[in-house]
Amino acid sequence: MKVAVVVFPGSNCDRDMYHVLTDVFHFNAEYCWHEKELPKNIDAVILPGGFSYGDRLRAGIIAAHSPIIKDVKKMAEKGIPILGVCNGFQILVESGLLPGALLKNESLNFMCEWTNLIVENNKTPFTNQFKLDEKIPIPIANGEGRYYADDETLKKLKKKNQIVFRYSEVVNGSTNRIAGVCNEDGNVVGMMPHPERAVESDINPIDNKPSSLIFESLIAKIGVNK
């Protein structure tokens, strides 16, 4: 089973994600440059973190117009699992695949720190191995990570079970402490924290098992070596 790691100019967590997918979870992963088409036989797509186009104009907005996004949208319609992490989440939001917006953190600063997520939806391809309300220690690293949704969107998000992760406490001023959301079908998930930085025990000072379930969920959904 093949996982595409989309690389935009300025992506900088692509190599970390690739390492985790291949060396830790034994997926067959492939870098996909943003100006090319996605390979036809892809089973999941990951948009990694970074600063695509140097976060110019607004984080994710230029990358959202990259040629590859057309293919990503097609895959999304087909129900293929798609995960956007950090800048990847911002790109999914800017391309209209996910609702809401990501604003500057309340502190107006870039924030790099460890926090805890609470799993709110365990039906997605990236959360199916979690129990509801399970806690995930995980780091964030972003400047524009404050999720915002207006009342109407928020109502819809709640109704359709689109809130996937919340922070366990107020971190950056996100609406309802939202850290990750999914589309209505649940196959497209975006999250600001970095699971790829938390799955290996020697770099995770707290517990690497919960965040590993994000990737194990994908394995449960699409398998590894089929």
Partner: protein, 725 residues
């Protein structure tokens, strides 16, 4: 900002004619202190620069260390002081960019950034606060965008940096030994300028940095673009993998002038280039401007005509500029043309090798009385004093700073910032630990011992992670070298560092000298900043949570050495006293003992004792572990001293070990065997930090309470202008 009269005469006599205006610009840039090291170079040779792990190749801008299994680590340090003092955001950001390209030019991927920041007194000085805040944002915006973790550094405030800023940036790279660029050029090779366009920013930057800061010359400050730098990194590494690079050099101080002449000189070749071929930001740039512009994010690459197409394809993929600007010749000339016309034609040797100076030195007169202490007001309440000290800008937690830096990207960071030294995992199963340290307060009082102290402190920090020091970076920052008293302090510091490096067999793998750090108010205090790189073969010592009943033990003697201490300077507003002196033999024994104990996995954490002395070091352990501790000061080994001296002396070579009581015997056995001065000071538990002396209570503080003070003092001051205590 041009050549001095005798330098101009020298140039004329060397070339036997009047130089052209472009030649004058090129030589002025390359003979500037910043590029030529003309005042310092003859003395820098005293530092040991070789060792079993050091790989020396021509033309490298960074040091290379062999870390085994076919892998190398590269390291370099730079500063960007003058630009940061004028425009802190851009100055600090481009400081990061410059050192990153030095790492890249060896053919290694940059994997870590460290920054040492120094400003005036931010408690009183709003301008210093503005400089500090914007320099931090500049580093964050640049490093974060590149995806290179900023994993360590230091921040210090001192009146001597009023209206000024020291921004030191060190970087580490990692790669396969076989991928190192073996700088060479073949007949018919071409010279390519890759990356951002050349504009009118940073014109004359290196001359600007080679004079005292008297005017705010904004055109001399470079404009940062981390996005282009990120693209360059990926493009260069791809070109390296494809074997397309014969030689490479980054464009830094002196711009094209420096890159062309130094490359030609290092490779023993000539380069003929055409300024019309350079991709510029503006169409009407004069050849002189093109040659000395310090526009950032540019790399000079020598490749062959046959490899050019592939290189161009890579640059096209990343949409970065790629211009063939010249040809490799074998006449050792730097030949600059504009179209068909020659605008400069000089021997590379003449341009790249300024005549070295042998400046006079004289011991500064202020040193004669500096050790004399005045009589201090007796301290009535040490608990209150401790709160004040923990809230002081130099001691308060720097989480507000490193929390703005992505220190996790790259997924190598095993030990995170906020500890003694950060630790990175390497691809060969080994670990790398690194730290930079400076101490201008001590270096002012004793330039030699102060510099040695910085070196030892950086060693102590990496030793606390279980790493053996394998290499050193020195960054020597002083005022105007033509002042014999200042030059004396430079030489003393250098001699001290050399002695320590030789005794401990730690080679200097890279460095930088930054002189003319002065404003009209005067020079800065001598500020050598030392980086130490340590290697861990097995497992690093990752601090573990301390629990009730665990023991606290000190290694090393506490002496009556409070000169330059935070206690003297911040509490008593006194500059002077006796500077702490490192005893090399004790230092070695203590280092070895800590490494032995870590190797045997006997401790939960090791912490060095430095700024603020024993009292602050113990408080830091308690705060980060959220646990109290009872400490008997009468047990502290060393000279018999008054309580305030025991608490706040900044004697070197001291370590605090925290461990499970069951390991006490084994630890004591190792320490006795190594003939080390040590003592168990107390035990952890409860919520109070209690220091007693002969059963009399000296300090009694609630951990939660002081933790809050320590954590919030810096943001309170920077963001809200509020003093916490």
């Amino acid at each position: 900002m041009s050549l001095e009269a005798q330098e101009l005469a020298e140039l004329k006599s060397k070339i036997g004619r009047d130089p052209t205006s472009t030649e004058l610009q090129i030589v002025a840039a390359e003979w500037s202190e910043h590029c030529s090291y003309k005042s310092s170079k003859r003395h820098l040779k005293m530092l040991p620069m070789t060792g079993p792990l050091v790989i020396n190749e021509k033309g490298y801008d960074s040091g290379v260390l062999d870390v085994g299994d076919g892998y190398v680590v590269t390291a370099h340090i730079e500063s960007h002081n003058h630009p940061s003092a004028v425009e802190p955001y851009g100055g600090a950001a481009t400081g990061v960019g410059g050192v990153i390209r030095d790492i890249l030019s060896a053919g290694t991927r940059p994997i870590a950034i460290f920054d040492g920041l120094r400003f005036g007194d931010i408690e009183k000085d709003l301008h210093a606060r503005w400089l500090f805040k914007n320099a931090v944002t500049g580093i964050a915006d640049y490093g974060n965008c590149l995806g290179i973790p900023t994993i360590g550094g230091e921040v210090e405030f001192d009146e001597c940096y009023k209206n000024y800023a020291l921004v030191d940036v060190a970087a580490l790279g990692f790669g396969k030994k076989e991928n190192l660029i073996k700088n060479h050029a073949k007949k018919g090779d071409i010279v390519v300028l890759m990356g951002g366009s050349t504009g009118r920013d940073g014109i004359g930057g290196s001359q600007f940095a080679s004079d005292s800061l008297e005017s705010e010359d904004r055109s001399a400050v470079q404009i940062p673009d981390p996005f282009i730098e990120k693209l360059i990194i990926e493009a260069v590494l791809q070109a390296r993998n494809d074997g397309l690079i014969h030689a490479m050099k980054d464009l830094g101080g002196g711009g094209l002038s420096c890159a062309i002449s130094e490359t030609a000189d290092a490779l023993n070749i000539g380069i003929e280039m055409d300024v019309d071929k350079v991709h510029t930001r503006e169409s009407d740039m004069h050849p002189d401007e093109i040659m000395v512009s310090e526009s950032q994010e540019r790399m000079l690459i020598i490749t062959s005509k046959t490899k050019l197409k592939k290189l161009e394809e890579i640059c096209k993929k990343f949409r970065i500029g790629c211009s063939v600007i010249g040809l490799v010749k074998f006449d050792n000339q730097v030949h600059i043309k504009k179209g068909k016309n020659t605008v400069a034609n000089l021997s590379a040797d003449i341009v790249a090798n300024a005549t070295l100076l042998d400046l006079p030195s004289k011991e500064p007169s202020y040193l004669k009385t500096i050790e004399n202490e005045k009589k201090f007001k007796p301290i009535s309440d040490y608990s209150k004093l401790m709160m004040k000290l923990l809230a002081s800008p130099n001691i308060a937690s720097k989480i507000w700073v490193y929390g703005q830096y992505d220190h996790e990207v790259g997924i190598r960071t095993v030990v995170k910032p906020g500890t003694d030294a950060s630790v990175l995992r390497l691809d060969n199963g080994k670990y790398l630990s690194a730290k930079i340290d400076g101490n201008p307060k001590q270096c002012y009082i004793n330039p030699r011992e102060g510099a040695i102290g910085c070196f030892e402190e950086a060693c102590r920090n990496v030793v606390c992670t279980g790493a053996k020091p394998i290499g050193m970076l020195d960054h020597l920052q002083f005022g105007n070298p033509k002042d014999p008293e200042i030059f004396w302090t430079f030489l003393e510091s250098l001699k001290g560092l050399t002695d320590f490096a030789k005794f401990f067999e730690i080679p200097c793998v890279g460095g930088k000298v930054s002189l003319y750090n002065e404003t009209p108010a005067g020079p800065i205090k001598p500020t050598p900043v030392i980086g130490v790189i340590g290697l861990i073969d097995k497992k690093p010592s990752v601090p573990q949570k301390i629990s009730k009943g665990d023991c606290l033990l000190i290694i090393g003697d506490t002496k009556n050495e409070l000169g330059g201490s935070e206690y003297f300077e911040y509490i008593h507003k006194f500059v002077g006293g006796k500077c702490p002196i490192v005893n090399f033999e004790d230092s070695k024994k203590n280092m070895k003992s800590v490494l032995d104990i870590i190797d045997k996995n006997l401790i939960k954490s090791a912490h060095d004792c430095s700024k603020g002395g024993l009292a602050v070091a113990i408080s830091e352990i308690c705060m980060t572990n959220q646990i109290g501790c009872k400490v008997s000061l009468d047990k502290v080994p060393g000279e018999k001293l008054d309580v305030d001296r025991i608490l706040f002396s900044e004697s070197h070579s001291r370590y605090l070990l925290s461990f499970d009581k069951k390991n006490l015997q084994k630890i004591e056995d190792i320490l006795r065997k190594n003939k080390v001065s040590f003592k168990q000071l107390g035990q952890f538990g409860g919520e109070q930090i209690q220091f007693t002396n002969a059963s009399k209570s000296i300090i009694d503080l609630n951990v939660q309470k002081i933790h809050k003070i320590w954590l919030h003092a810096l943001p309170n001051l920077v963001l809200h202008g509020k003093k916490t205590v």
